[in-house]
């Protein structure tokens, strides 16, 4: 390897990061300046953030988003964990098929998922609203949670469970005292990754939401149609920063696990 390689790699990294984070940086900078439509920095202010907190529409939308995201995280993590157990621990007819089918939603366009779900809910006469958003979010989160938990499961030594049973623990005690504690980092990571998936989703939610059930991304979209206010910048910053922190915590937990 030549000596220029590290420099070249650093340069590559710099470009990558610039493409990824420069727009975000612009967004964050303009959320902190008082100009309404300007492109120039005119001093520091937090007034747009205050406006975000005082805006009733936004508050309502956040409430809807949380009402979807929190149950979605709980339910899809639970279902994902159980599915992971079934797929990883038991051999049954069609397991292979089931496992490969699981990946499909991860690569399927959101647009297709959204239209399909909308058709389905209308077909079974389900009234669109928070409930249908929750159902939709759960259905696209389960593959993610299942895969994260399976990944963790593959790293657990099966003889640990043999050992627990040998030492006198029955199946249930083994699950409670050995398997679940060892799976915990994986389950937590699944939950923490699912939260932003649900909270940030726009496309699928757009199709399955009803009147008066706007989540935050939907609300932001409708606000933008009336022109970009610096308040949107502040809100955007919050939406980026808060889930980012959650994801960082999630990956740290996953890494820390032995």
């Amino acid at each position: 390897m030549s000596r220029t390689t590290p420099r070249l790699m650093l340069f590559g990294c710099a470009i990558l990061y610039m493409f990824m984070y420069a727009p975000l940086l612009v967004l964050i900078v303009f959320s902190l300046t008082p100009t309404k439509y300007g492109v120039a920095w005119e001093g520091f202010t937090l007034k747009w953030y205050l406006a975000v907190f005082n805006n009733e529409n936004i508050r309502d939308a956040v409430k809807v988003s949380l009402m979807v995201a929190i149950p979605c995280v709980l339910i899809s993590t639970a279902i994902g964990t159980i599915t992971a157990f079934a797929l990883y621990r038991y051999k049954f007819l069609g397991r292979e098929l089931f496992q490969s089918v699981l990946y499909i939603p991860l690569i399927m366009p959101d647009l297709v998922i959204g239209i399909a779900l909308l058709l389905f809910y209308t077909f079974i006469n389900l009234e669109l609203g928070i409930f249908t958003i929750l159902l939709a979010h759960i259905s696209f989160s389960i593959p993610l949670t299942t895969l994260v938990v399976i990944a963790r499961m593959q790293r657990i030594d099966r003889t640990l469970e043999d050992a627990a049973m040998d030492l006198g623990a029955d199946e249930w005690t083994t699950m409670r005292k050995v398997t679940l504690p060892l799976l915990k980092p994986g389950i937590l990571a699944a939950a923490l990754l699912t939260f932003p998936w649900s909270f940030n989703d726009f496309v699928v939610t757009f199709f399955v939401s009803g009147v008066g059930s706007s989540t935050l991304p939907l609300r932001v979209y409708s606000m933008i149609r009336l022109g970009v206010s610096p308040m949107i910048n502040a809100l955007g910053t919050l939406i980026v920063v808060i889930p980012l922190i959650v994801v960082i915590i999630g990956t740290q937990l996953e890494k820390r696990s032995v």
């Binding site: 043999d162 049973m165 030492l167 006198g168 623990a169 050995v178 060892l182 032995v258």
Partner: protein, 373 residues
């Protein structure tokens, strides 16, 4: 009063799909015995152990522990404990919690102060006092191994099942742990069933050894019996008695002494040598027979040296292998009839054996070990 055997297997069979891992095994192990299952990987020794521990269910036959049939009992209702090959310590628990895992289960109802005392006691037994608060990953392999042992012993099982517990340790540590295990076994007076592929390990620790192959026992006996008188070609080979010959019995003769009329027999081997061996009952003239000779019982001298042995042949050294305290010589007695001899290196030095040198080799009748099959 008749003593109840510690562990009994009665015609136990275990299949995995089409593979018969354990094939109609029967075995009786006495209380307090150190019993080893010896064999190469895939011979069914670990499966046998897991069957006794309850982690596998037999397809056929009966397993008894202390006289009770345990076939349908799950592992958590058996009075046996396993020390796993990879130790299987719980990574999320401290050493104390690992050892106390079995003690704390509800069914046992032991008060916490007593548990602490039992943990401290068993840690003393394995020479790891004061390790309670550490975590498994902070311990060396040898230490983890001892914790695994302590965790099983603290439950005072009737039978301790050890699955190649020293496999992952380096040679020196393994030697030390062998002595340690034997000491602990005597101290706690529990039946040990020990699985290993290392014949030296089985020899040095066991009261009895069973050599396994393809799910059956080739031979069960004391280490000395197995080492000196292997009954089958496989056991002879596994124990390092690599000189195995086959031939036909050509004559039988009483050895002359009237009080102990042991017969000696003369065997003509396939390349055409006549070998005198001590006899065994039920052997008749003309029968085909195989025998093994341990390399260290074969003597080697220069051709012109004056010496005598019951069987003496001339040959040529084809290969010499220096192994430290001993030297291995491969001597060709005839075309494609090599014999391996292991001599003290100082003897080799004295005669200065060289490859291709003419020598005479020999062994006595009692060093011929006749094989059953």
């Amino acid at each position: 009063m008749k003593r109840v055997p510690s562990v009994e297997l009665l015609s136990v069979t275990k299949r995995f799909g089409d593979v018969v891992a354990v094939d109609d095994l029967s075995l009786t192990i006495q209380e307090g015995e150190f019993f080893s299952l010896l064999g190469s990987s895939g011979c069914g020794k670990t499966t046998t152990l897991r069957l006794i521990g309850g982690l596998e269910q037999p397809d056929d036959g009966e397993i008894r522990i202390s006289g009770e049939v345990v076939n349908d009992r799950p592992p958590y209702e058996r009075s046996s404990n396993i020390v796993f090959q990879n130790y299987a310590l719980f990574p999320h628990l401290t050493i104390k919690d690992n050892i106390a895992f079995g003690l704390r289960l509800k069914s046992r109802r032991i008060p916490e102060p007593q548990i602490a005392e039992m943990v401290a006691d068993v840690l003393r037994l394995v020479h790891l006092e004061g390790f309670e608060a550490r975590r498994p990953h902070q311990l060396s392999g040898g230490q983890q191994q001892r914790i695994a042992l302590a965790r099983a012993l603290v439950l005072r099982p009737k039978v301790l099942l050890l699955d190649e517990p020293l496999g992952a340790l380096d040679r020196k540590l393994r030697k030390a742990m062998q002595v340690e295990l034997r000491r602990i076994q005597k101290e706690v007076d529990i039946t040990f069933i020990y699985v290993t592929h290392d014949q030296e390990e089985a020899m040095s620790m066991s009261d009895r050894v069973a050599v396994m192959r393809h799910g059956i026992f080739e031979q069960i006996g004391t280490p000395r019996e197995i080492f000196q008188s292997p009954q089958t070609r496989f056991v002879a080979d596994f124990m390092g008695a690599s000189n195995i010959f086959s031939g036909k019995v050509v004559s039988l003769s009483a050895d002359g002494s009237q009080r102990a009329p042991i017969e000696t027999i003369e065997i003509e081997t396939e390349p055409g040598f006549r070998v005198i061996s001590h006899g065994i009952p039920d052997v008749s003239s003309g029968a085909s027979i195989s025998f093994s000779i341990r390399p260290e019982t074969v003597q080697v001298f220069p051709r012109d040296w004056e010496w005598s042995a019951d069987n003496k042949f001339e040959g040529r050294i084809v290969e010499k292998l220096y192994l430290g305290d001993v030297t291995e010589l491969e001597v060709e007695l005839a075309e494609r009839a090599p014999i391996t001899c292991r001599i003290q290196s100082r003897i080799d030095q004295k005669f200065d054996f060289k490859e291709d040198a003419p020598v005479s080799v020999g062994w006595n009748a009692e060093d011929c070990n006749l094989l059953r099959k």
